[in-house]
Symmetry: C2
Subunit: 345 residues, 2 copies
């Protein structure tokens, strides 16, 4: 590591102007300034103008800490993701969620605090949240083993992205209808004339994994078909290729497979192709997510699209409503999925 010492980079920074200063310049009291800043009640237009002029002239910006302390609100929300950084950044699903949340937040004066909480610092994070850094929490990618999440619900309003697996949930839920999505995908396979449909599932520690499996099973049974082989994965590409090998190794026949995530499907497909199996002729595939990897496959994937960005936006919207005291939001919001047909079926 080379280093070059240069001029000193720090300098005296101008003290930020306060409400007091604005009030003095505008010739009114602090209270009045506070009122126009918060757009509140009735202030005489003339003095309101004077205040606004003073604010502009001084470049006044409310001090966040002081405001929080007085109002008992931080005007920030947290996105809690119980995954490690690699998974978080490796999955575009999270990108969409964040984009959606951001889009809603841009129309407010709330801030987003990203908390990617892999394994260790759960206790630390709970302490942060307890410290009043945020007014509410959005939780996505939640596993049954993440018990600490329950404690969050005891101290802050909470919105889940994807229904958590435990029963006594405190908090709102925004979800896609995973059962219906999986059912649509499976039915599509049946409509294409497939009779022996396998599935590569998501993790059984996540509600979405269980729901998609259920959607597959009920649809197959309703059609009077014998369920094909089932192999479990964890949504990652690696687990997808492993599952594909296992499927083949088991020796059970199948002419189609419903894969619970595009990442797993794009891991599985090369395995099939390498074995000389043709997609979709020998094995038809349907994925889930409609992620970019679905298109990048050798045989582009038919898949179930989730409105991830809309989910993010909806979650933020619900949380903001709750924080605004609006208790009329439904506790559970289901967003629709859509089948996207490509070459793999």
């Amino acid at each position: 590591m080379t280093s070059v010492t240069g001029a000193k980079p720090a300098q005296a920074r101008a003290a930020a102007p306060t409400l007091e200063a604005v009030a003095a310049l505008a010739g009114v009291s602090r209270a009045t300034v506070s009122r126009v800043v918060n757009g509140s009640s009735t202030v005489t237009p003339s003095s309101a103008d004077a205040v606004r002029a003073a604010i502009a002239q001084l470049g006044y910006v409310p001090n966040r800490a002081a405001r929080s302390l007085a109002s008992q609100q931080s005007h920030a929300i947290a996105l809690v993701v119980p995954e490690d950084t690699t998974r978080f950044f490796g999955d575009v699903y999270f990108a969409s969620i964040v984009a959606g949340i951001n889009r809603r937040l841009e129309r407010s004066d709330y801030l987003l605090n990203l908390m990617i909480a892999s394994k260790g610092p759960e206790a630390k994070m709970l302490r942060y949240l307890a410290g009043g850094v945020v007014d509410g929490v959005v939780v996505v990618s939640h596993h049954t083993s993440d018990m600490f999440v329950r404690e969050i619900g005891d101290m802050l309003p909470m919105v889940f992205g994807g229904r958590p697996a435990f029963d006594d949930l405190k908090g709102y839920v925004v979800d896609v209808d995973n059962v219906a999505g999986a059912a649509t995908a499976t039915q599509h396979l049946i409509d294409r004339g497939r009779r022996r449909i396998a599935t590569i599932t998501g993790p059984m520690s996540m509600q979405s994994g269980m729901d998609r499996l259920e959607g597959w099973r009920t649809t197959v049974e309703k059609a009077g078909l014998e369920p094909g082989p089932v192999v479990h994965g964890d949504y990652t590409m690696l687990s997808g290729s492993r599952a594909a090998r296992e499927l083949l190794a088991q020796g059970d026949e199948f002419d189609a497979v419903f894969v619970a995530s595009d990442l797993m499907a794009s891991g599985a497909q090369p395995v099939f192709l390498d074995r000389g199996l043709r997609v979709p002729e020998d094995i038809a595939m349907v994925g889930y997510d409609d992620s970019p990897s679905a298109v990048r496959c050798d045989v582009p994937l038919t898949t179930v699209r989730q409105p991830s960005e809309a989910m993010g936006e909806e979650m933020a919207d619900i949380l903001l409503s709750v924080l605004a005291g609006d208790m009329s939001k439904p506790q559970e919001t289901l967003l629709p999925t859509a089948l996207v047909e490509r070459s793999s079926t």
Copy 2:
């Protein structure tokens, strides 16, 4: 959108215990409690124990807003990324940076605030930062056109990831030696016996783009070689394939190409291969970044590895030092690069 109304999810949340409460329980004054909380100076072990016991019993957590207001510090830093969400999440480089920053922050009580500031809300972000939400800022992926970044330097300590292109910079810089990295790559090509070396550059609006071009040029000239053709890209895969086509269209001969990012290289390579050119026999390639895409290429890329995660960690470390009043850090820190040899040379 279906919705199901359920039980009311919100409930009365216990008021958080305050310093006052702890003091009362421990039988000391607020000041003393504050002292042990901040590990400060000299407190009698006996009363310190009493305080700690009270804290544990009450589950006391300091209120962040109050602390900020009193101490004039937020104990949070911001990572400002002037890119849109898609680019941010699409590039693993950022993931490493964040991971590195997080790793350093975990050993502190600072919080990270991610601000992905595409185009619009620059003014809004400046207002946030002016509001005292953070004590310092880390800026990565900075373009010459992002003028608003300069204003940040006027109000907060700042660390750049990658040297900004403007001259009067206020702030620290952590960078890799892009000139040296490009030089190593180019020299490697020369050592392999290549005489006519082209380059696909990064954006000329970024210092790193200019530096890598310079490293290529000086090395070629120092070897007494005639510089090969130069085509500009913007680090993305798409621009890489476009650049490759342009390179071919120009008709100038070349037997090697130094590409300023792996993403561009993985866009360029298929173009060469499609034209029946062999890598490395007809065209040797060296990329930059050592990103996952370097390995996913048909012909895995020889590339220049940057210590991205170490960069993130170093940036956070410097910022924390400055915030702690330590002015001894060098204004510019250069991290070393390393050549990773694979099949493309």
